[in-house]
Amino acid sequence: MESEIKQAKLRSKEEILGVLDELVKEWFFSKFKEFSMPQLYGVMPIHERKNIIISAPTGGTKTLTAFLSILNYLVSLAIKNELEEKVYAVYVSPLKALNNDIAVNLIEPLEQIKEIAKKKGIKLQEIRVAVRTGDTPTNEKQKMLKKPPHILITTPESLSIVLTTRKFIELLKAVEYIIVDEIHALANKRGVYLSLSLERLQYISTIYPCRIGLSATISPLEEIAKFLVGFEDGKPRDCLIADVQFAKKLDMKVLSPVKDMIETSAEEMQKGLYGLIDKLIQEHKTTLIFTNTRSATERVVAHLKEMFPSSYMENIGAHHSSLSKQHRFDIEQRLREGKLKVVVTSTSLELGIDIGYIDLVILLGSPKSVARAIQRIGRAGHKLHEIAKGRILVLDQDDLVECAVLLKEAIEKKIDKVQIPSNCLDVLAQQIYGCAIQQKWNIDELFNCIKKSYCYNNLGREDFLSVISYLAGEYALEARDVYAKIWYDSSTHEIGKRGRLARMIYMTNIGTIPEESFVNVVIAAGEQRNEKIGAVDEGFLERLKPGDVFVLGGHKYEFCYTRGMNAYVKATVHRPPTIPSWFSEMLPLSFDLALGIGRFRKLLKEKIKTSREKEAKEFIASYLYVDKNSVDAIYNYFILQHKYAEVPDESCLLVEHCRIENKHYAIFHSLYGRRVNDALSRALAYLVARLGGRDIELGINDNGFLLASMQSIQVERALNMLNPKNLKEVLEEAVHNTEVFKRRFRHCATRSLMILRNYKGRTKSVGKQQFKSGFLLAASMKISRDFPVLKETRREILEDMMDLQNAGVVLGWIREGRVKIQQIHTDLPSPFSLNLIMQSHADLLKIEDKIAFLKRMYKAIQEQVSKQKRF
C-alpha cells in the first residue's frame, strides 16, 4: 500500500462531541466557548490514532489539541478503573522549563476534571503526570519507577537516557501516544537526535504509538511530517497535516525611522530609530522587541533607558539565552502579570512559552526568513482569532529592500523552506552507544531501525559500519582500548556495550548543543597589561584577524592574537571598527527570500530602464506593501546603483572589479544568502588561489561576497573550473584545516564522545576541550580521511553551516545560462557593494603550504636585513 502524507480534514463539532466523555465535555465548555481551528482539525485524527502534524500560530491552543483526545482516553479508562501502571503518552519538547506550561495545559485540566467528577459522585482513578528533564532529582526519578506517570513530559536528551534504563523501558513498552512539541525548533542536530530516539522507542514498543507533532509556522510541512513519523519498509509512514498556520490574522508593516537613509548621519539615524521605538511602545500596552543578537538586546535596553529615563525604569527587561535561568523566569513571570511595558529579546522568546498579553511585536532589522518573521509577530495577540500586530524597523537600504520583500512574501503566504540535516555521523555514534547500553543488537537489525528515521533514511551501510568500527575502537591504531565503547563480534554480527562506566559516561556526556565558550579579552601590552576587560564568544573570535578593530562594552579594541582562552588586544585604537561585534550571531538570509529579492530587483530594474520615475515608484508601491518614504528610499537606492554601475538581479550575477590601495577586489553580487555565498566564495577563492599560487582574502554577507588579493583575480577561469559536480570536492579541500574546521571538529568530536566533557568525576572546561582538540585533530588526520568524525565535520560545514545543495543549484543556473555573469570595472565600489566592503565577514583562504610560507618570510627577513646593512 502506498504511504500517504495528506491534508487533514476539518471535522464537525458534533463529531468531536460524539467521542468526548461527559466529564471532559463539561470541563471543556466550562473553559472555552468553542473548539478552535486546530482542535477541529486535530482532535478526531488523534482519537482515531492517526499520526498528525499540526502547524498553527502561538496561542493557537495547539498543546491542548494534542492532549484533548489523550485526556479523554485516559479519563474514560480512569472511570472504568482500567488505567494500567504504564506510560500512555510521552510528550517531548525542546524547552527545558516546561513546568509552567504543563501546569496550564495538563495539571489544571486534570484537577478540574477531578473536581467535576467528585461533584457528580463519579469515582476516578488518579491520572499521573511527571516531568523528567536533566534537572529532575534522583528521588523523583525513583518515584516514577514505583508509580509510573501516565503522561511523561520530557526533553529529547532525557528521553534517550530513559531508553537506556532497563526498569523504565518496561514502562514504555506500550506507549500509545508520542507528542513532539515545538518541532519547528528541531530542524537541527537536536531534532536528528530525537528522530533516532523516537525510532528506539518505537523499536521496543509492542504497539505502534500514534505520533503527534506541533509546530509554529514552518515549511515544507510535508518534509516536517516525514521527519516526525519516519519510514517503514523504505516508505514514509502515514501522516496527516493540519495546516492552520494562517488562522491568525497578521497586521504587519515595514517602517523606516528616517526619510532619507542615504543622507542621514549615524547619530540622526539612531535618534530616529529610538524615537520611533518609543512612540510605538507608548501607543501600546505591552511590546515585545526582537533583535537578531544578544548584544543588540542589551544595547536597545540601555539606549531606551538612557534616552527616555522617565519612561523606562522598572518596566523594561531583557530576555536572552546568555542570561541566567532565574532572570529569564523573572521576566516571563512579570510579563504574565502585566508588570512590564516592554521586553527586548533575541531568539529565546520565539518558542511558545506562555508570556501573557502582548499587543505589539517590533522586529529590529530583518528577521532573515519569512517563517521567523511570522513566528515572532505571532507572539502578539494572545488568542488565535486576535490580530497579531508587528512592525519591522529597518536599519539601512539593504535592510529596507529585504524587509519589504519579506513582508510581501509573508502577506502572500510564501514561507521559506528549512533543511533538516541528514546522516549526521556524530549523532549516530552517540545513539548507537545508547542502543548498545540498552541491549545487545544484531547490527543488521540496528541498521534497519536507524534507517527508519527520516534523517538516516538513505544512510549508506559503509558509513554505518565506519561508526561501528569507530565505537568498537578499530581506528585506535596502537591502542584499541582507547575509545572502544562497544564490542563488535564479527562472527555473530552482534554489538554490545563495553565497560562498567558505560551508562555513566553516556548519561553525563550526551547532547548535541555545542557548549558555548567565551574567550576573555585581555589587554596585551602597556600599563593595563593582562587586565581582563570582558569576554566574546568563540564564534566571534573565529571571525577576527589580527588588526581587526571591534567594539566591546562601548570601547574600541584592536585584536592582536589569541592564546588558549584569551584574546589579546590593544586598547589604543583610533580607527573605526572593521568588524561588527555581533557578527557570529548573525542569522543567515533564507535562500527562498533571497531569490524573492532577486526577482524584485529584476522587475524594478526593467521599470527603471523603460519608464519614468513616477511609474517606477508606482510599481514599487503596488508590488511591495510599503509606505511612501520607503518607496522613495528604495527608488533612490536603485537609481544610484543603476547610474553608477548596474543593478544585479535574479538572472544577472554582477561581478564588479575594482582596485583599492593596490589591492584587487572582485565583488560578486550574488544575492543568495550567506550560507550559499559561504560555499560559492570559498570554492572560488580556493580555485583562484590555486591559479595564482597565493592566499586569497574573502568577505561574505547575505547579498554577495568579495575576493581580494595583491594579484589580479582570475574570475573567469575559476568560474569555468567550478561546476555542480565538483563543488563538493573543491569545498572539502577549501575548508580542510581552517579555523572553522578546527572549531567544528571539536563540536563533532564532543558529540561523537571522542572528547568527554565529564569523565571520572571531572568536568572539563571548554577551554581545555579546545586546547586538547587541536592535538586530537592532528592525530585524527593521521588515521584516515574517512574517519567518521572528520567526515562528519566536513558534512556539517558544507551542508549545515553552508548550503552546498543550493550553491550547486546556483552553479547549475550559471552553466545553463539562466544566470548570466556580467563583469564590470569600477573606480570605487558601487552603492550595492558598500555593506559588503565595510562589514562583511572576512576570512583568508590559505593555499600556500607552511614550508613555502616559511621560505617566503625568511626571504623577506633577509632582504630587510641586507637593506638595513646598506644604510
Binding site: G547, I755, Q769, K782, M857, Q864
Partner: protein
C-alpha cells in the same frame, strides 16, 4: 646548521660534533595516554612517530653519547603499563647505539624504576667540561659548581615555537632559541614531541626561570631545514 661553534642543530635535536653527543629534549612519552585519562580519546600515534624520528636521526650521525634532556615521559604520578613499555622500547633503541644519559625533568618524578631496569643513571644535569657546556632541563635554576663553571647552557622545558604573521595569516613553527643568561650563552631546544608545535614565545608566558626578556634572543626556525631568522625583536 651550527647554533654555536661545534653545536649543530639536526632536526629537533642538537649534535655536539667533537664528543659525538646527541641531545633530545621533551619526548613526553605517554602524553596521549594522559589525554585519554582525562577523557580526550586521542588515537595513539606518538610512539611510532617518535621512534621513526629517532631512527632517522641515528642513521644520520654516528654517536657515542645520547642525552635525554628531561621529560622523557609525560605523566605526573604513576607509570602506566603502556608508558613503561614504550619508554623501555625507546631506551632500548638508543642503548643499542650509544651510552644513554637521562636528565631529570619536571614530568619525570618517578623515572627511576625505568632507569634502574636498564641500569641507567638519572642526572640533574650533564656537563661536557672540556667544552664548558652544561645540559639541564631548565625548569629550575641549578647552582652547582659545574653548572656555574659552564659557559654554555642547553635547556629544554620551554617547548619553544614561534608564529610568523603576514596580514591575516599566521603559522606556527618549532624553533631553537639562542640568548644569554647571566653572562653565559643559553640554548633553548624545541620539544621532540610530535603533532604539537609547542608554545608560542611571542604570545605565551615563558615558563623557564632561565628566560625573561627574550627580545634579543636569536630565533632558528625549524621547517624543511633550519632557518636563521635573527633576533626576535626584528621579526
Amino acid at each position: 646548521m651550527e647554533i654555536l661553534k661545534g653545536i649543530e642543530m639536526i632536526g629537533k635535536a642538537l649534535w655536539i660534533k667533537k664528543q659525538k653527543v646527541l641531545i633530545l629534549a621533551d619526548l613526553h612519552i605517554g602524553y596521549e595516554e594522559a589525554l585519554n585519562k582525562q577523557g580526550v580519546l586521542v588515537p595513539r600515534t606518538q610512539f611510532k612517530e617518535t621512534k621513526r624520528k629517532i631512527e632517522e636521526l641515528l642513521q644520520e650521525v654516528k654517536l657515542k653519547i645520547i642525552v635525554i634532556n628531561g621529560d622523557l615521559k609525560h605523566e605526573f604520578g604513576g607509570i602506566s603499563r603502556q608508558e613503561w613499555h614504550e619508554t623501555l622500547g625507546i631506551l632500548d633503541l638508543l642503548r643499542e647505539k650509544a651510552k644513554v644519559i637521562l636528565i631529570k625533568g619536571n614530568h619525570d618524578r618517578i623515572l627511576e624504576p625505568i632507569a634502574r631496569k636498564k641500569g641507567l643513571e638519572i642526572k640533574e644535569f650533564y656537563c661536557i667540561d672540556s667544552e664548558k657546556i652544561c645540559i639541564l632541563h631548565g625548569n629550575e635554576v641549578r647552582i652547582e659548581k659545574e653548572v656555574n663553571n659552564a659557559k654554555i647552557l642547553i635547556i629544554g622545558h620551554e617547548h619553544p615555537a614561534i608564529s610568523l604573521q603576514e596580514g591575516m595569516k599566521s603559522e606556527i613553527y618549532k624553533c631553537f632559541l639562542l640568548g644569554r643568561w647571566k653572562g653565559k650563552k643559553l640554548i633553548v631546544m624545541p620539544s621532540f614531541l610530535p603533532l604539537t608545535e609547542g608554545s608560542d614565545i611571542r604570545k605565551e608566558k615563558l615558563l623557564s626561570p632561565y628566560l625573561s626578556n627574550i627580545k634579543n634572543f636569536e630565533i632558528f626556525v625549524l621547517g624543511d631545514r633550519i632557518y636563521k631568522f635573527g633576533k626576535l625583536k626584528e621579526i
